[in-house]
Amino acid sequence: MVTDIIKILFMKMEWDVFRILNHISDEEGILVLSGENAKIDEISVARFGEYLKKKYLSKGVILVNRFERNMINHIKKNTALHIRIISLSPIRLKHFYKLHCVKPFAGNIAFTYINTPKDNKLGKYLEKSELDENELVCLALFRLGHV
């Protein structure tokens, strides 16, 4: 238990430093691409603007695994100017998600994990129901209320 607590506190510190260094403000929406499902990531990028609008935010930032070159190029081509891209290491991405799973550290943040942790059932919905990736992104991840 003590180890778990220390790990989480370290992750929180890691996020705070990252946020300051990258000038991420509370007025920005954050999208974190997990790389678990490429289609989900792509659709999330495409519809991120709607998420920002719903949250009454004028700016956004996308966090992406720095080794996902194709995805980074895709985002650059498909996002508006008010959306920044920050690439980071996969381990740091995982840390931020683990922290989020204990205590969400930002008010307007969406992660595209669908199978992690083990009881995140979004992936199962994709397998077992008639829902497609676009519907999962719009209704569940971004809670837009429409597809």
Binding site: M1, D4, L9, P104, Y113, D119, Y125, K128, L139
Partner: protein, 430 residues
């Protein structure tokens, strides 16, 4: 809604009341749901009436929540004017930021808005909760031995009934011998006792569920614990609740496919009922009710919207005139019997037998309807037509036929302007 949330809300209301900010004010709440119900009831105790509840959900507009009309922001703006000095808005929602923005854009000044759910637990509080959760978890597992821990972190009796109806198959599938089944309320425990569920533990305080979840989250889901729900909001990564009702993802299907992961042909099973004729005979005699000719009215629901009181009193009057005895199922002290009827707190572990003994049941859709769904009595279940539950109508999501719980109930959807027709239909059916 949990008891500790209610307590917190009660204290907050008390503070606002003491500050004098509500004197001579027309109060508007935001969001037709549990929190507004609680605020309405707390303010009523202090003699303050809520003018209306504002909700963006068009399906709720025009209905009633805790006896208060539900309106759109445009309606309120048109009828009262958002800059009226006597107006104040109370928001109690996780989405308060968006709501404040909407109110500001519509012209409501910031000083008119009171937010009751602004602060969220800090990471320090979450860790402190997890430490408490660890103690509770260890106490339970030490008492019952090693095994899976199932947590039902809600008070919905309908959910427990649905879980019970799949339990045998689920446990058989998991191939486990020992487990603990944790519930939050005595009502849930009673419903669980209808089924063959072992080691049912009632948490001493509801807040313990929050601690257990914090512990579970800190352990990164590595605990042998299962949260029995299709999308529990307290898990920060869980967002599947927002898919409810979309593309026919209804109550039974969600539990069968995604909570229990059973094959699609697995059917819910009602429990075998114990013979309680003697004690029921006594209860009926004591309350002047007639066996086989009593109508049990169940007018209260925690999840769905209500019907006006006069609808129920009209129905009761007609039934009494026709020679039926009529009782109201009053689950707690805030639920008062319908005028002219006997108020009975039907014990949930005897509810199916009670309704069978009575012979007739009329109720707004609530968890009680799930519990009595296997009865032979004539049953009428009412659903407000405009009432939505996530992406479906309340009827689509909760009707007992599609839930595979009951084929023989008369399930009716109603609009507020057709209550006379509904009343006629009910009386004809009986």
């Amino acid at each position: 809604m949990r008891d500790y949330e209610k307590l917190k809300l009660r204290n907050q209301i008390e503070q606002i009341f003491q500050s004098g900010n509500l004197f001579h004010k027309k109060i508007f709440l935001w969001g037709a749901g549990d929190f507004s119900r609680c605020i309405v009831s707390e303010l009523l105790k202090k003699g303050k009436k809520v003018e209306a509840i504002i909700d963006n959900d068009k399906s709720k507009q025009g209905a009633f929540c805790a006896g208060v009309p539900v309106l759109s922001l445009d309606d309120v703006s048109g009828q009262y004017g958002l800059n009226d000095s006597e107006i104040c808005f109370i928001i109690c929602s996780d989405f308060w930021k968006e709501i404040v923005n909407q109110l500001n854009l519509a012209g409501a000044a910031k000083e008119k808005i009171t937010i009751l759910k602004k602060e969220k637990d800090s990471l320090r509080e979450k860790i402190s909760d997890a430490v408490k959760g660890e103690k509770i978890y260890k106490n339970i597992t030490e008492q019952y031995g090693k095994g899976k821990v199932f947590l039902c972190p809600y008070t919905g009796t309908g959910d427990i009934y649905l879980i019970g109806s799949f339990w045998e198959k689920y446990i058989e599938n998991l191939k486990i011998n020992n487990y603990v089944f944790i519930v939050l309320s005595n009502a849930c425990k009673k419903v669980a006792s209808l089924f063959e569920i072992k080691n049912v533990v009632l948490l001493e305080k509801m807040i313990y569920a929050k601690y257990l979840i914090a512990y579970y989250l800190l352990k990164n889901s590595s605990l042998d614990m299962v949260i029995l729900n299709d999308g529990w909001r307290e898990l920060p990564y869980s967002c599947t609740e927002w898919l409810r009702g979309y593309k026919k993802l209804y109550f039974t299907q969600l539990f069968r496919d995604f909570v229990f992961e059973l094959p699609s042909d697995a059917k819910p099973q009602h429990p075998e009922l114990k013979d309680m004729n003697d004690s029921l005979q006594e209860l009926f005699q004591k309350n002047g009710l007639i066996k086989g000719k009593t109508v049990v009215i169940s007018p209260f629901s925690n999840t769905l919207l209500d019907l006006p009181q006069n609808f129920w009193s009209d129905i009761s009057k007609s039934l009494l005139e026709k020679g039926y005895s009529v009782c109201t199922n009053c689950g707690c002290d805030t639920e008062q019997p319908i005028e002219g009827t006997t108020g009975i707190c039907v014990p949930l572990d005897q509810a199916p037998q009670f309704v069978n003994f009575a012979g007739y049941f009329i109720g707004i859709r609530s968890g009680f309807c799930d519990i009595i769904s296997g009865c032979n009595a004539r049953k009428i279940i009412l659903y407000y037509k405009k009432n939505r539950f996530y992406n479906a109508s309340a009827y689509e999501y909760f009707n007992l036929k599609d839930m595979e719980l009951c084929e023989d109930a008369l399930e009716l959807e109603f609009c507020m302007d057709e209550l006379c027709r509904i009343k006629k239909e009910i009386l004809e059916y009986l």
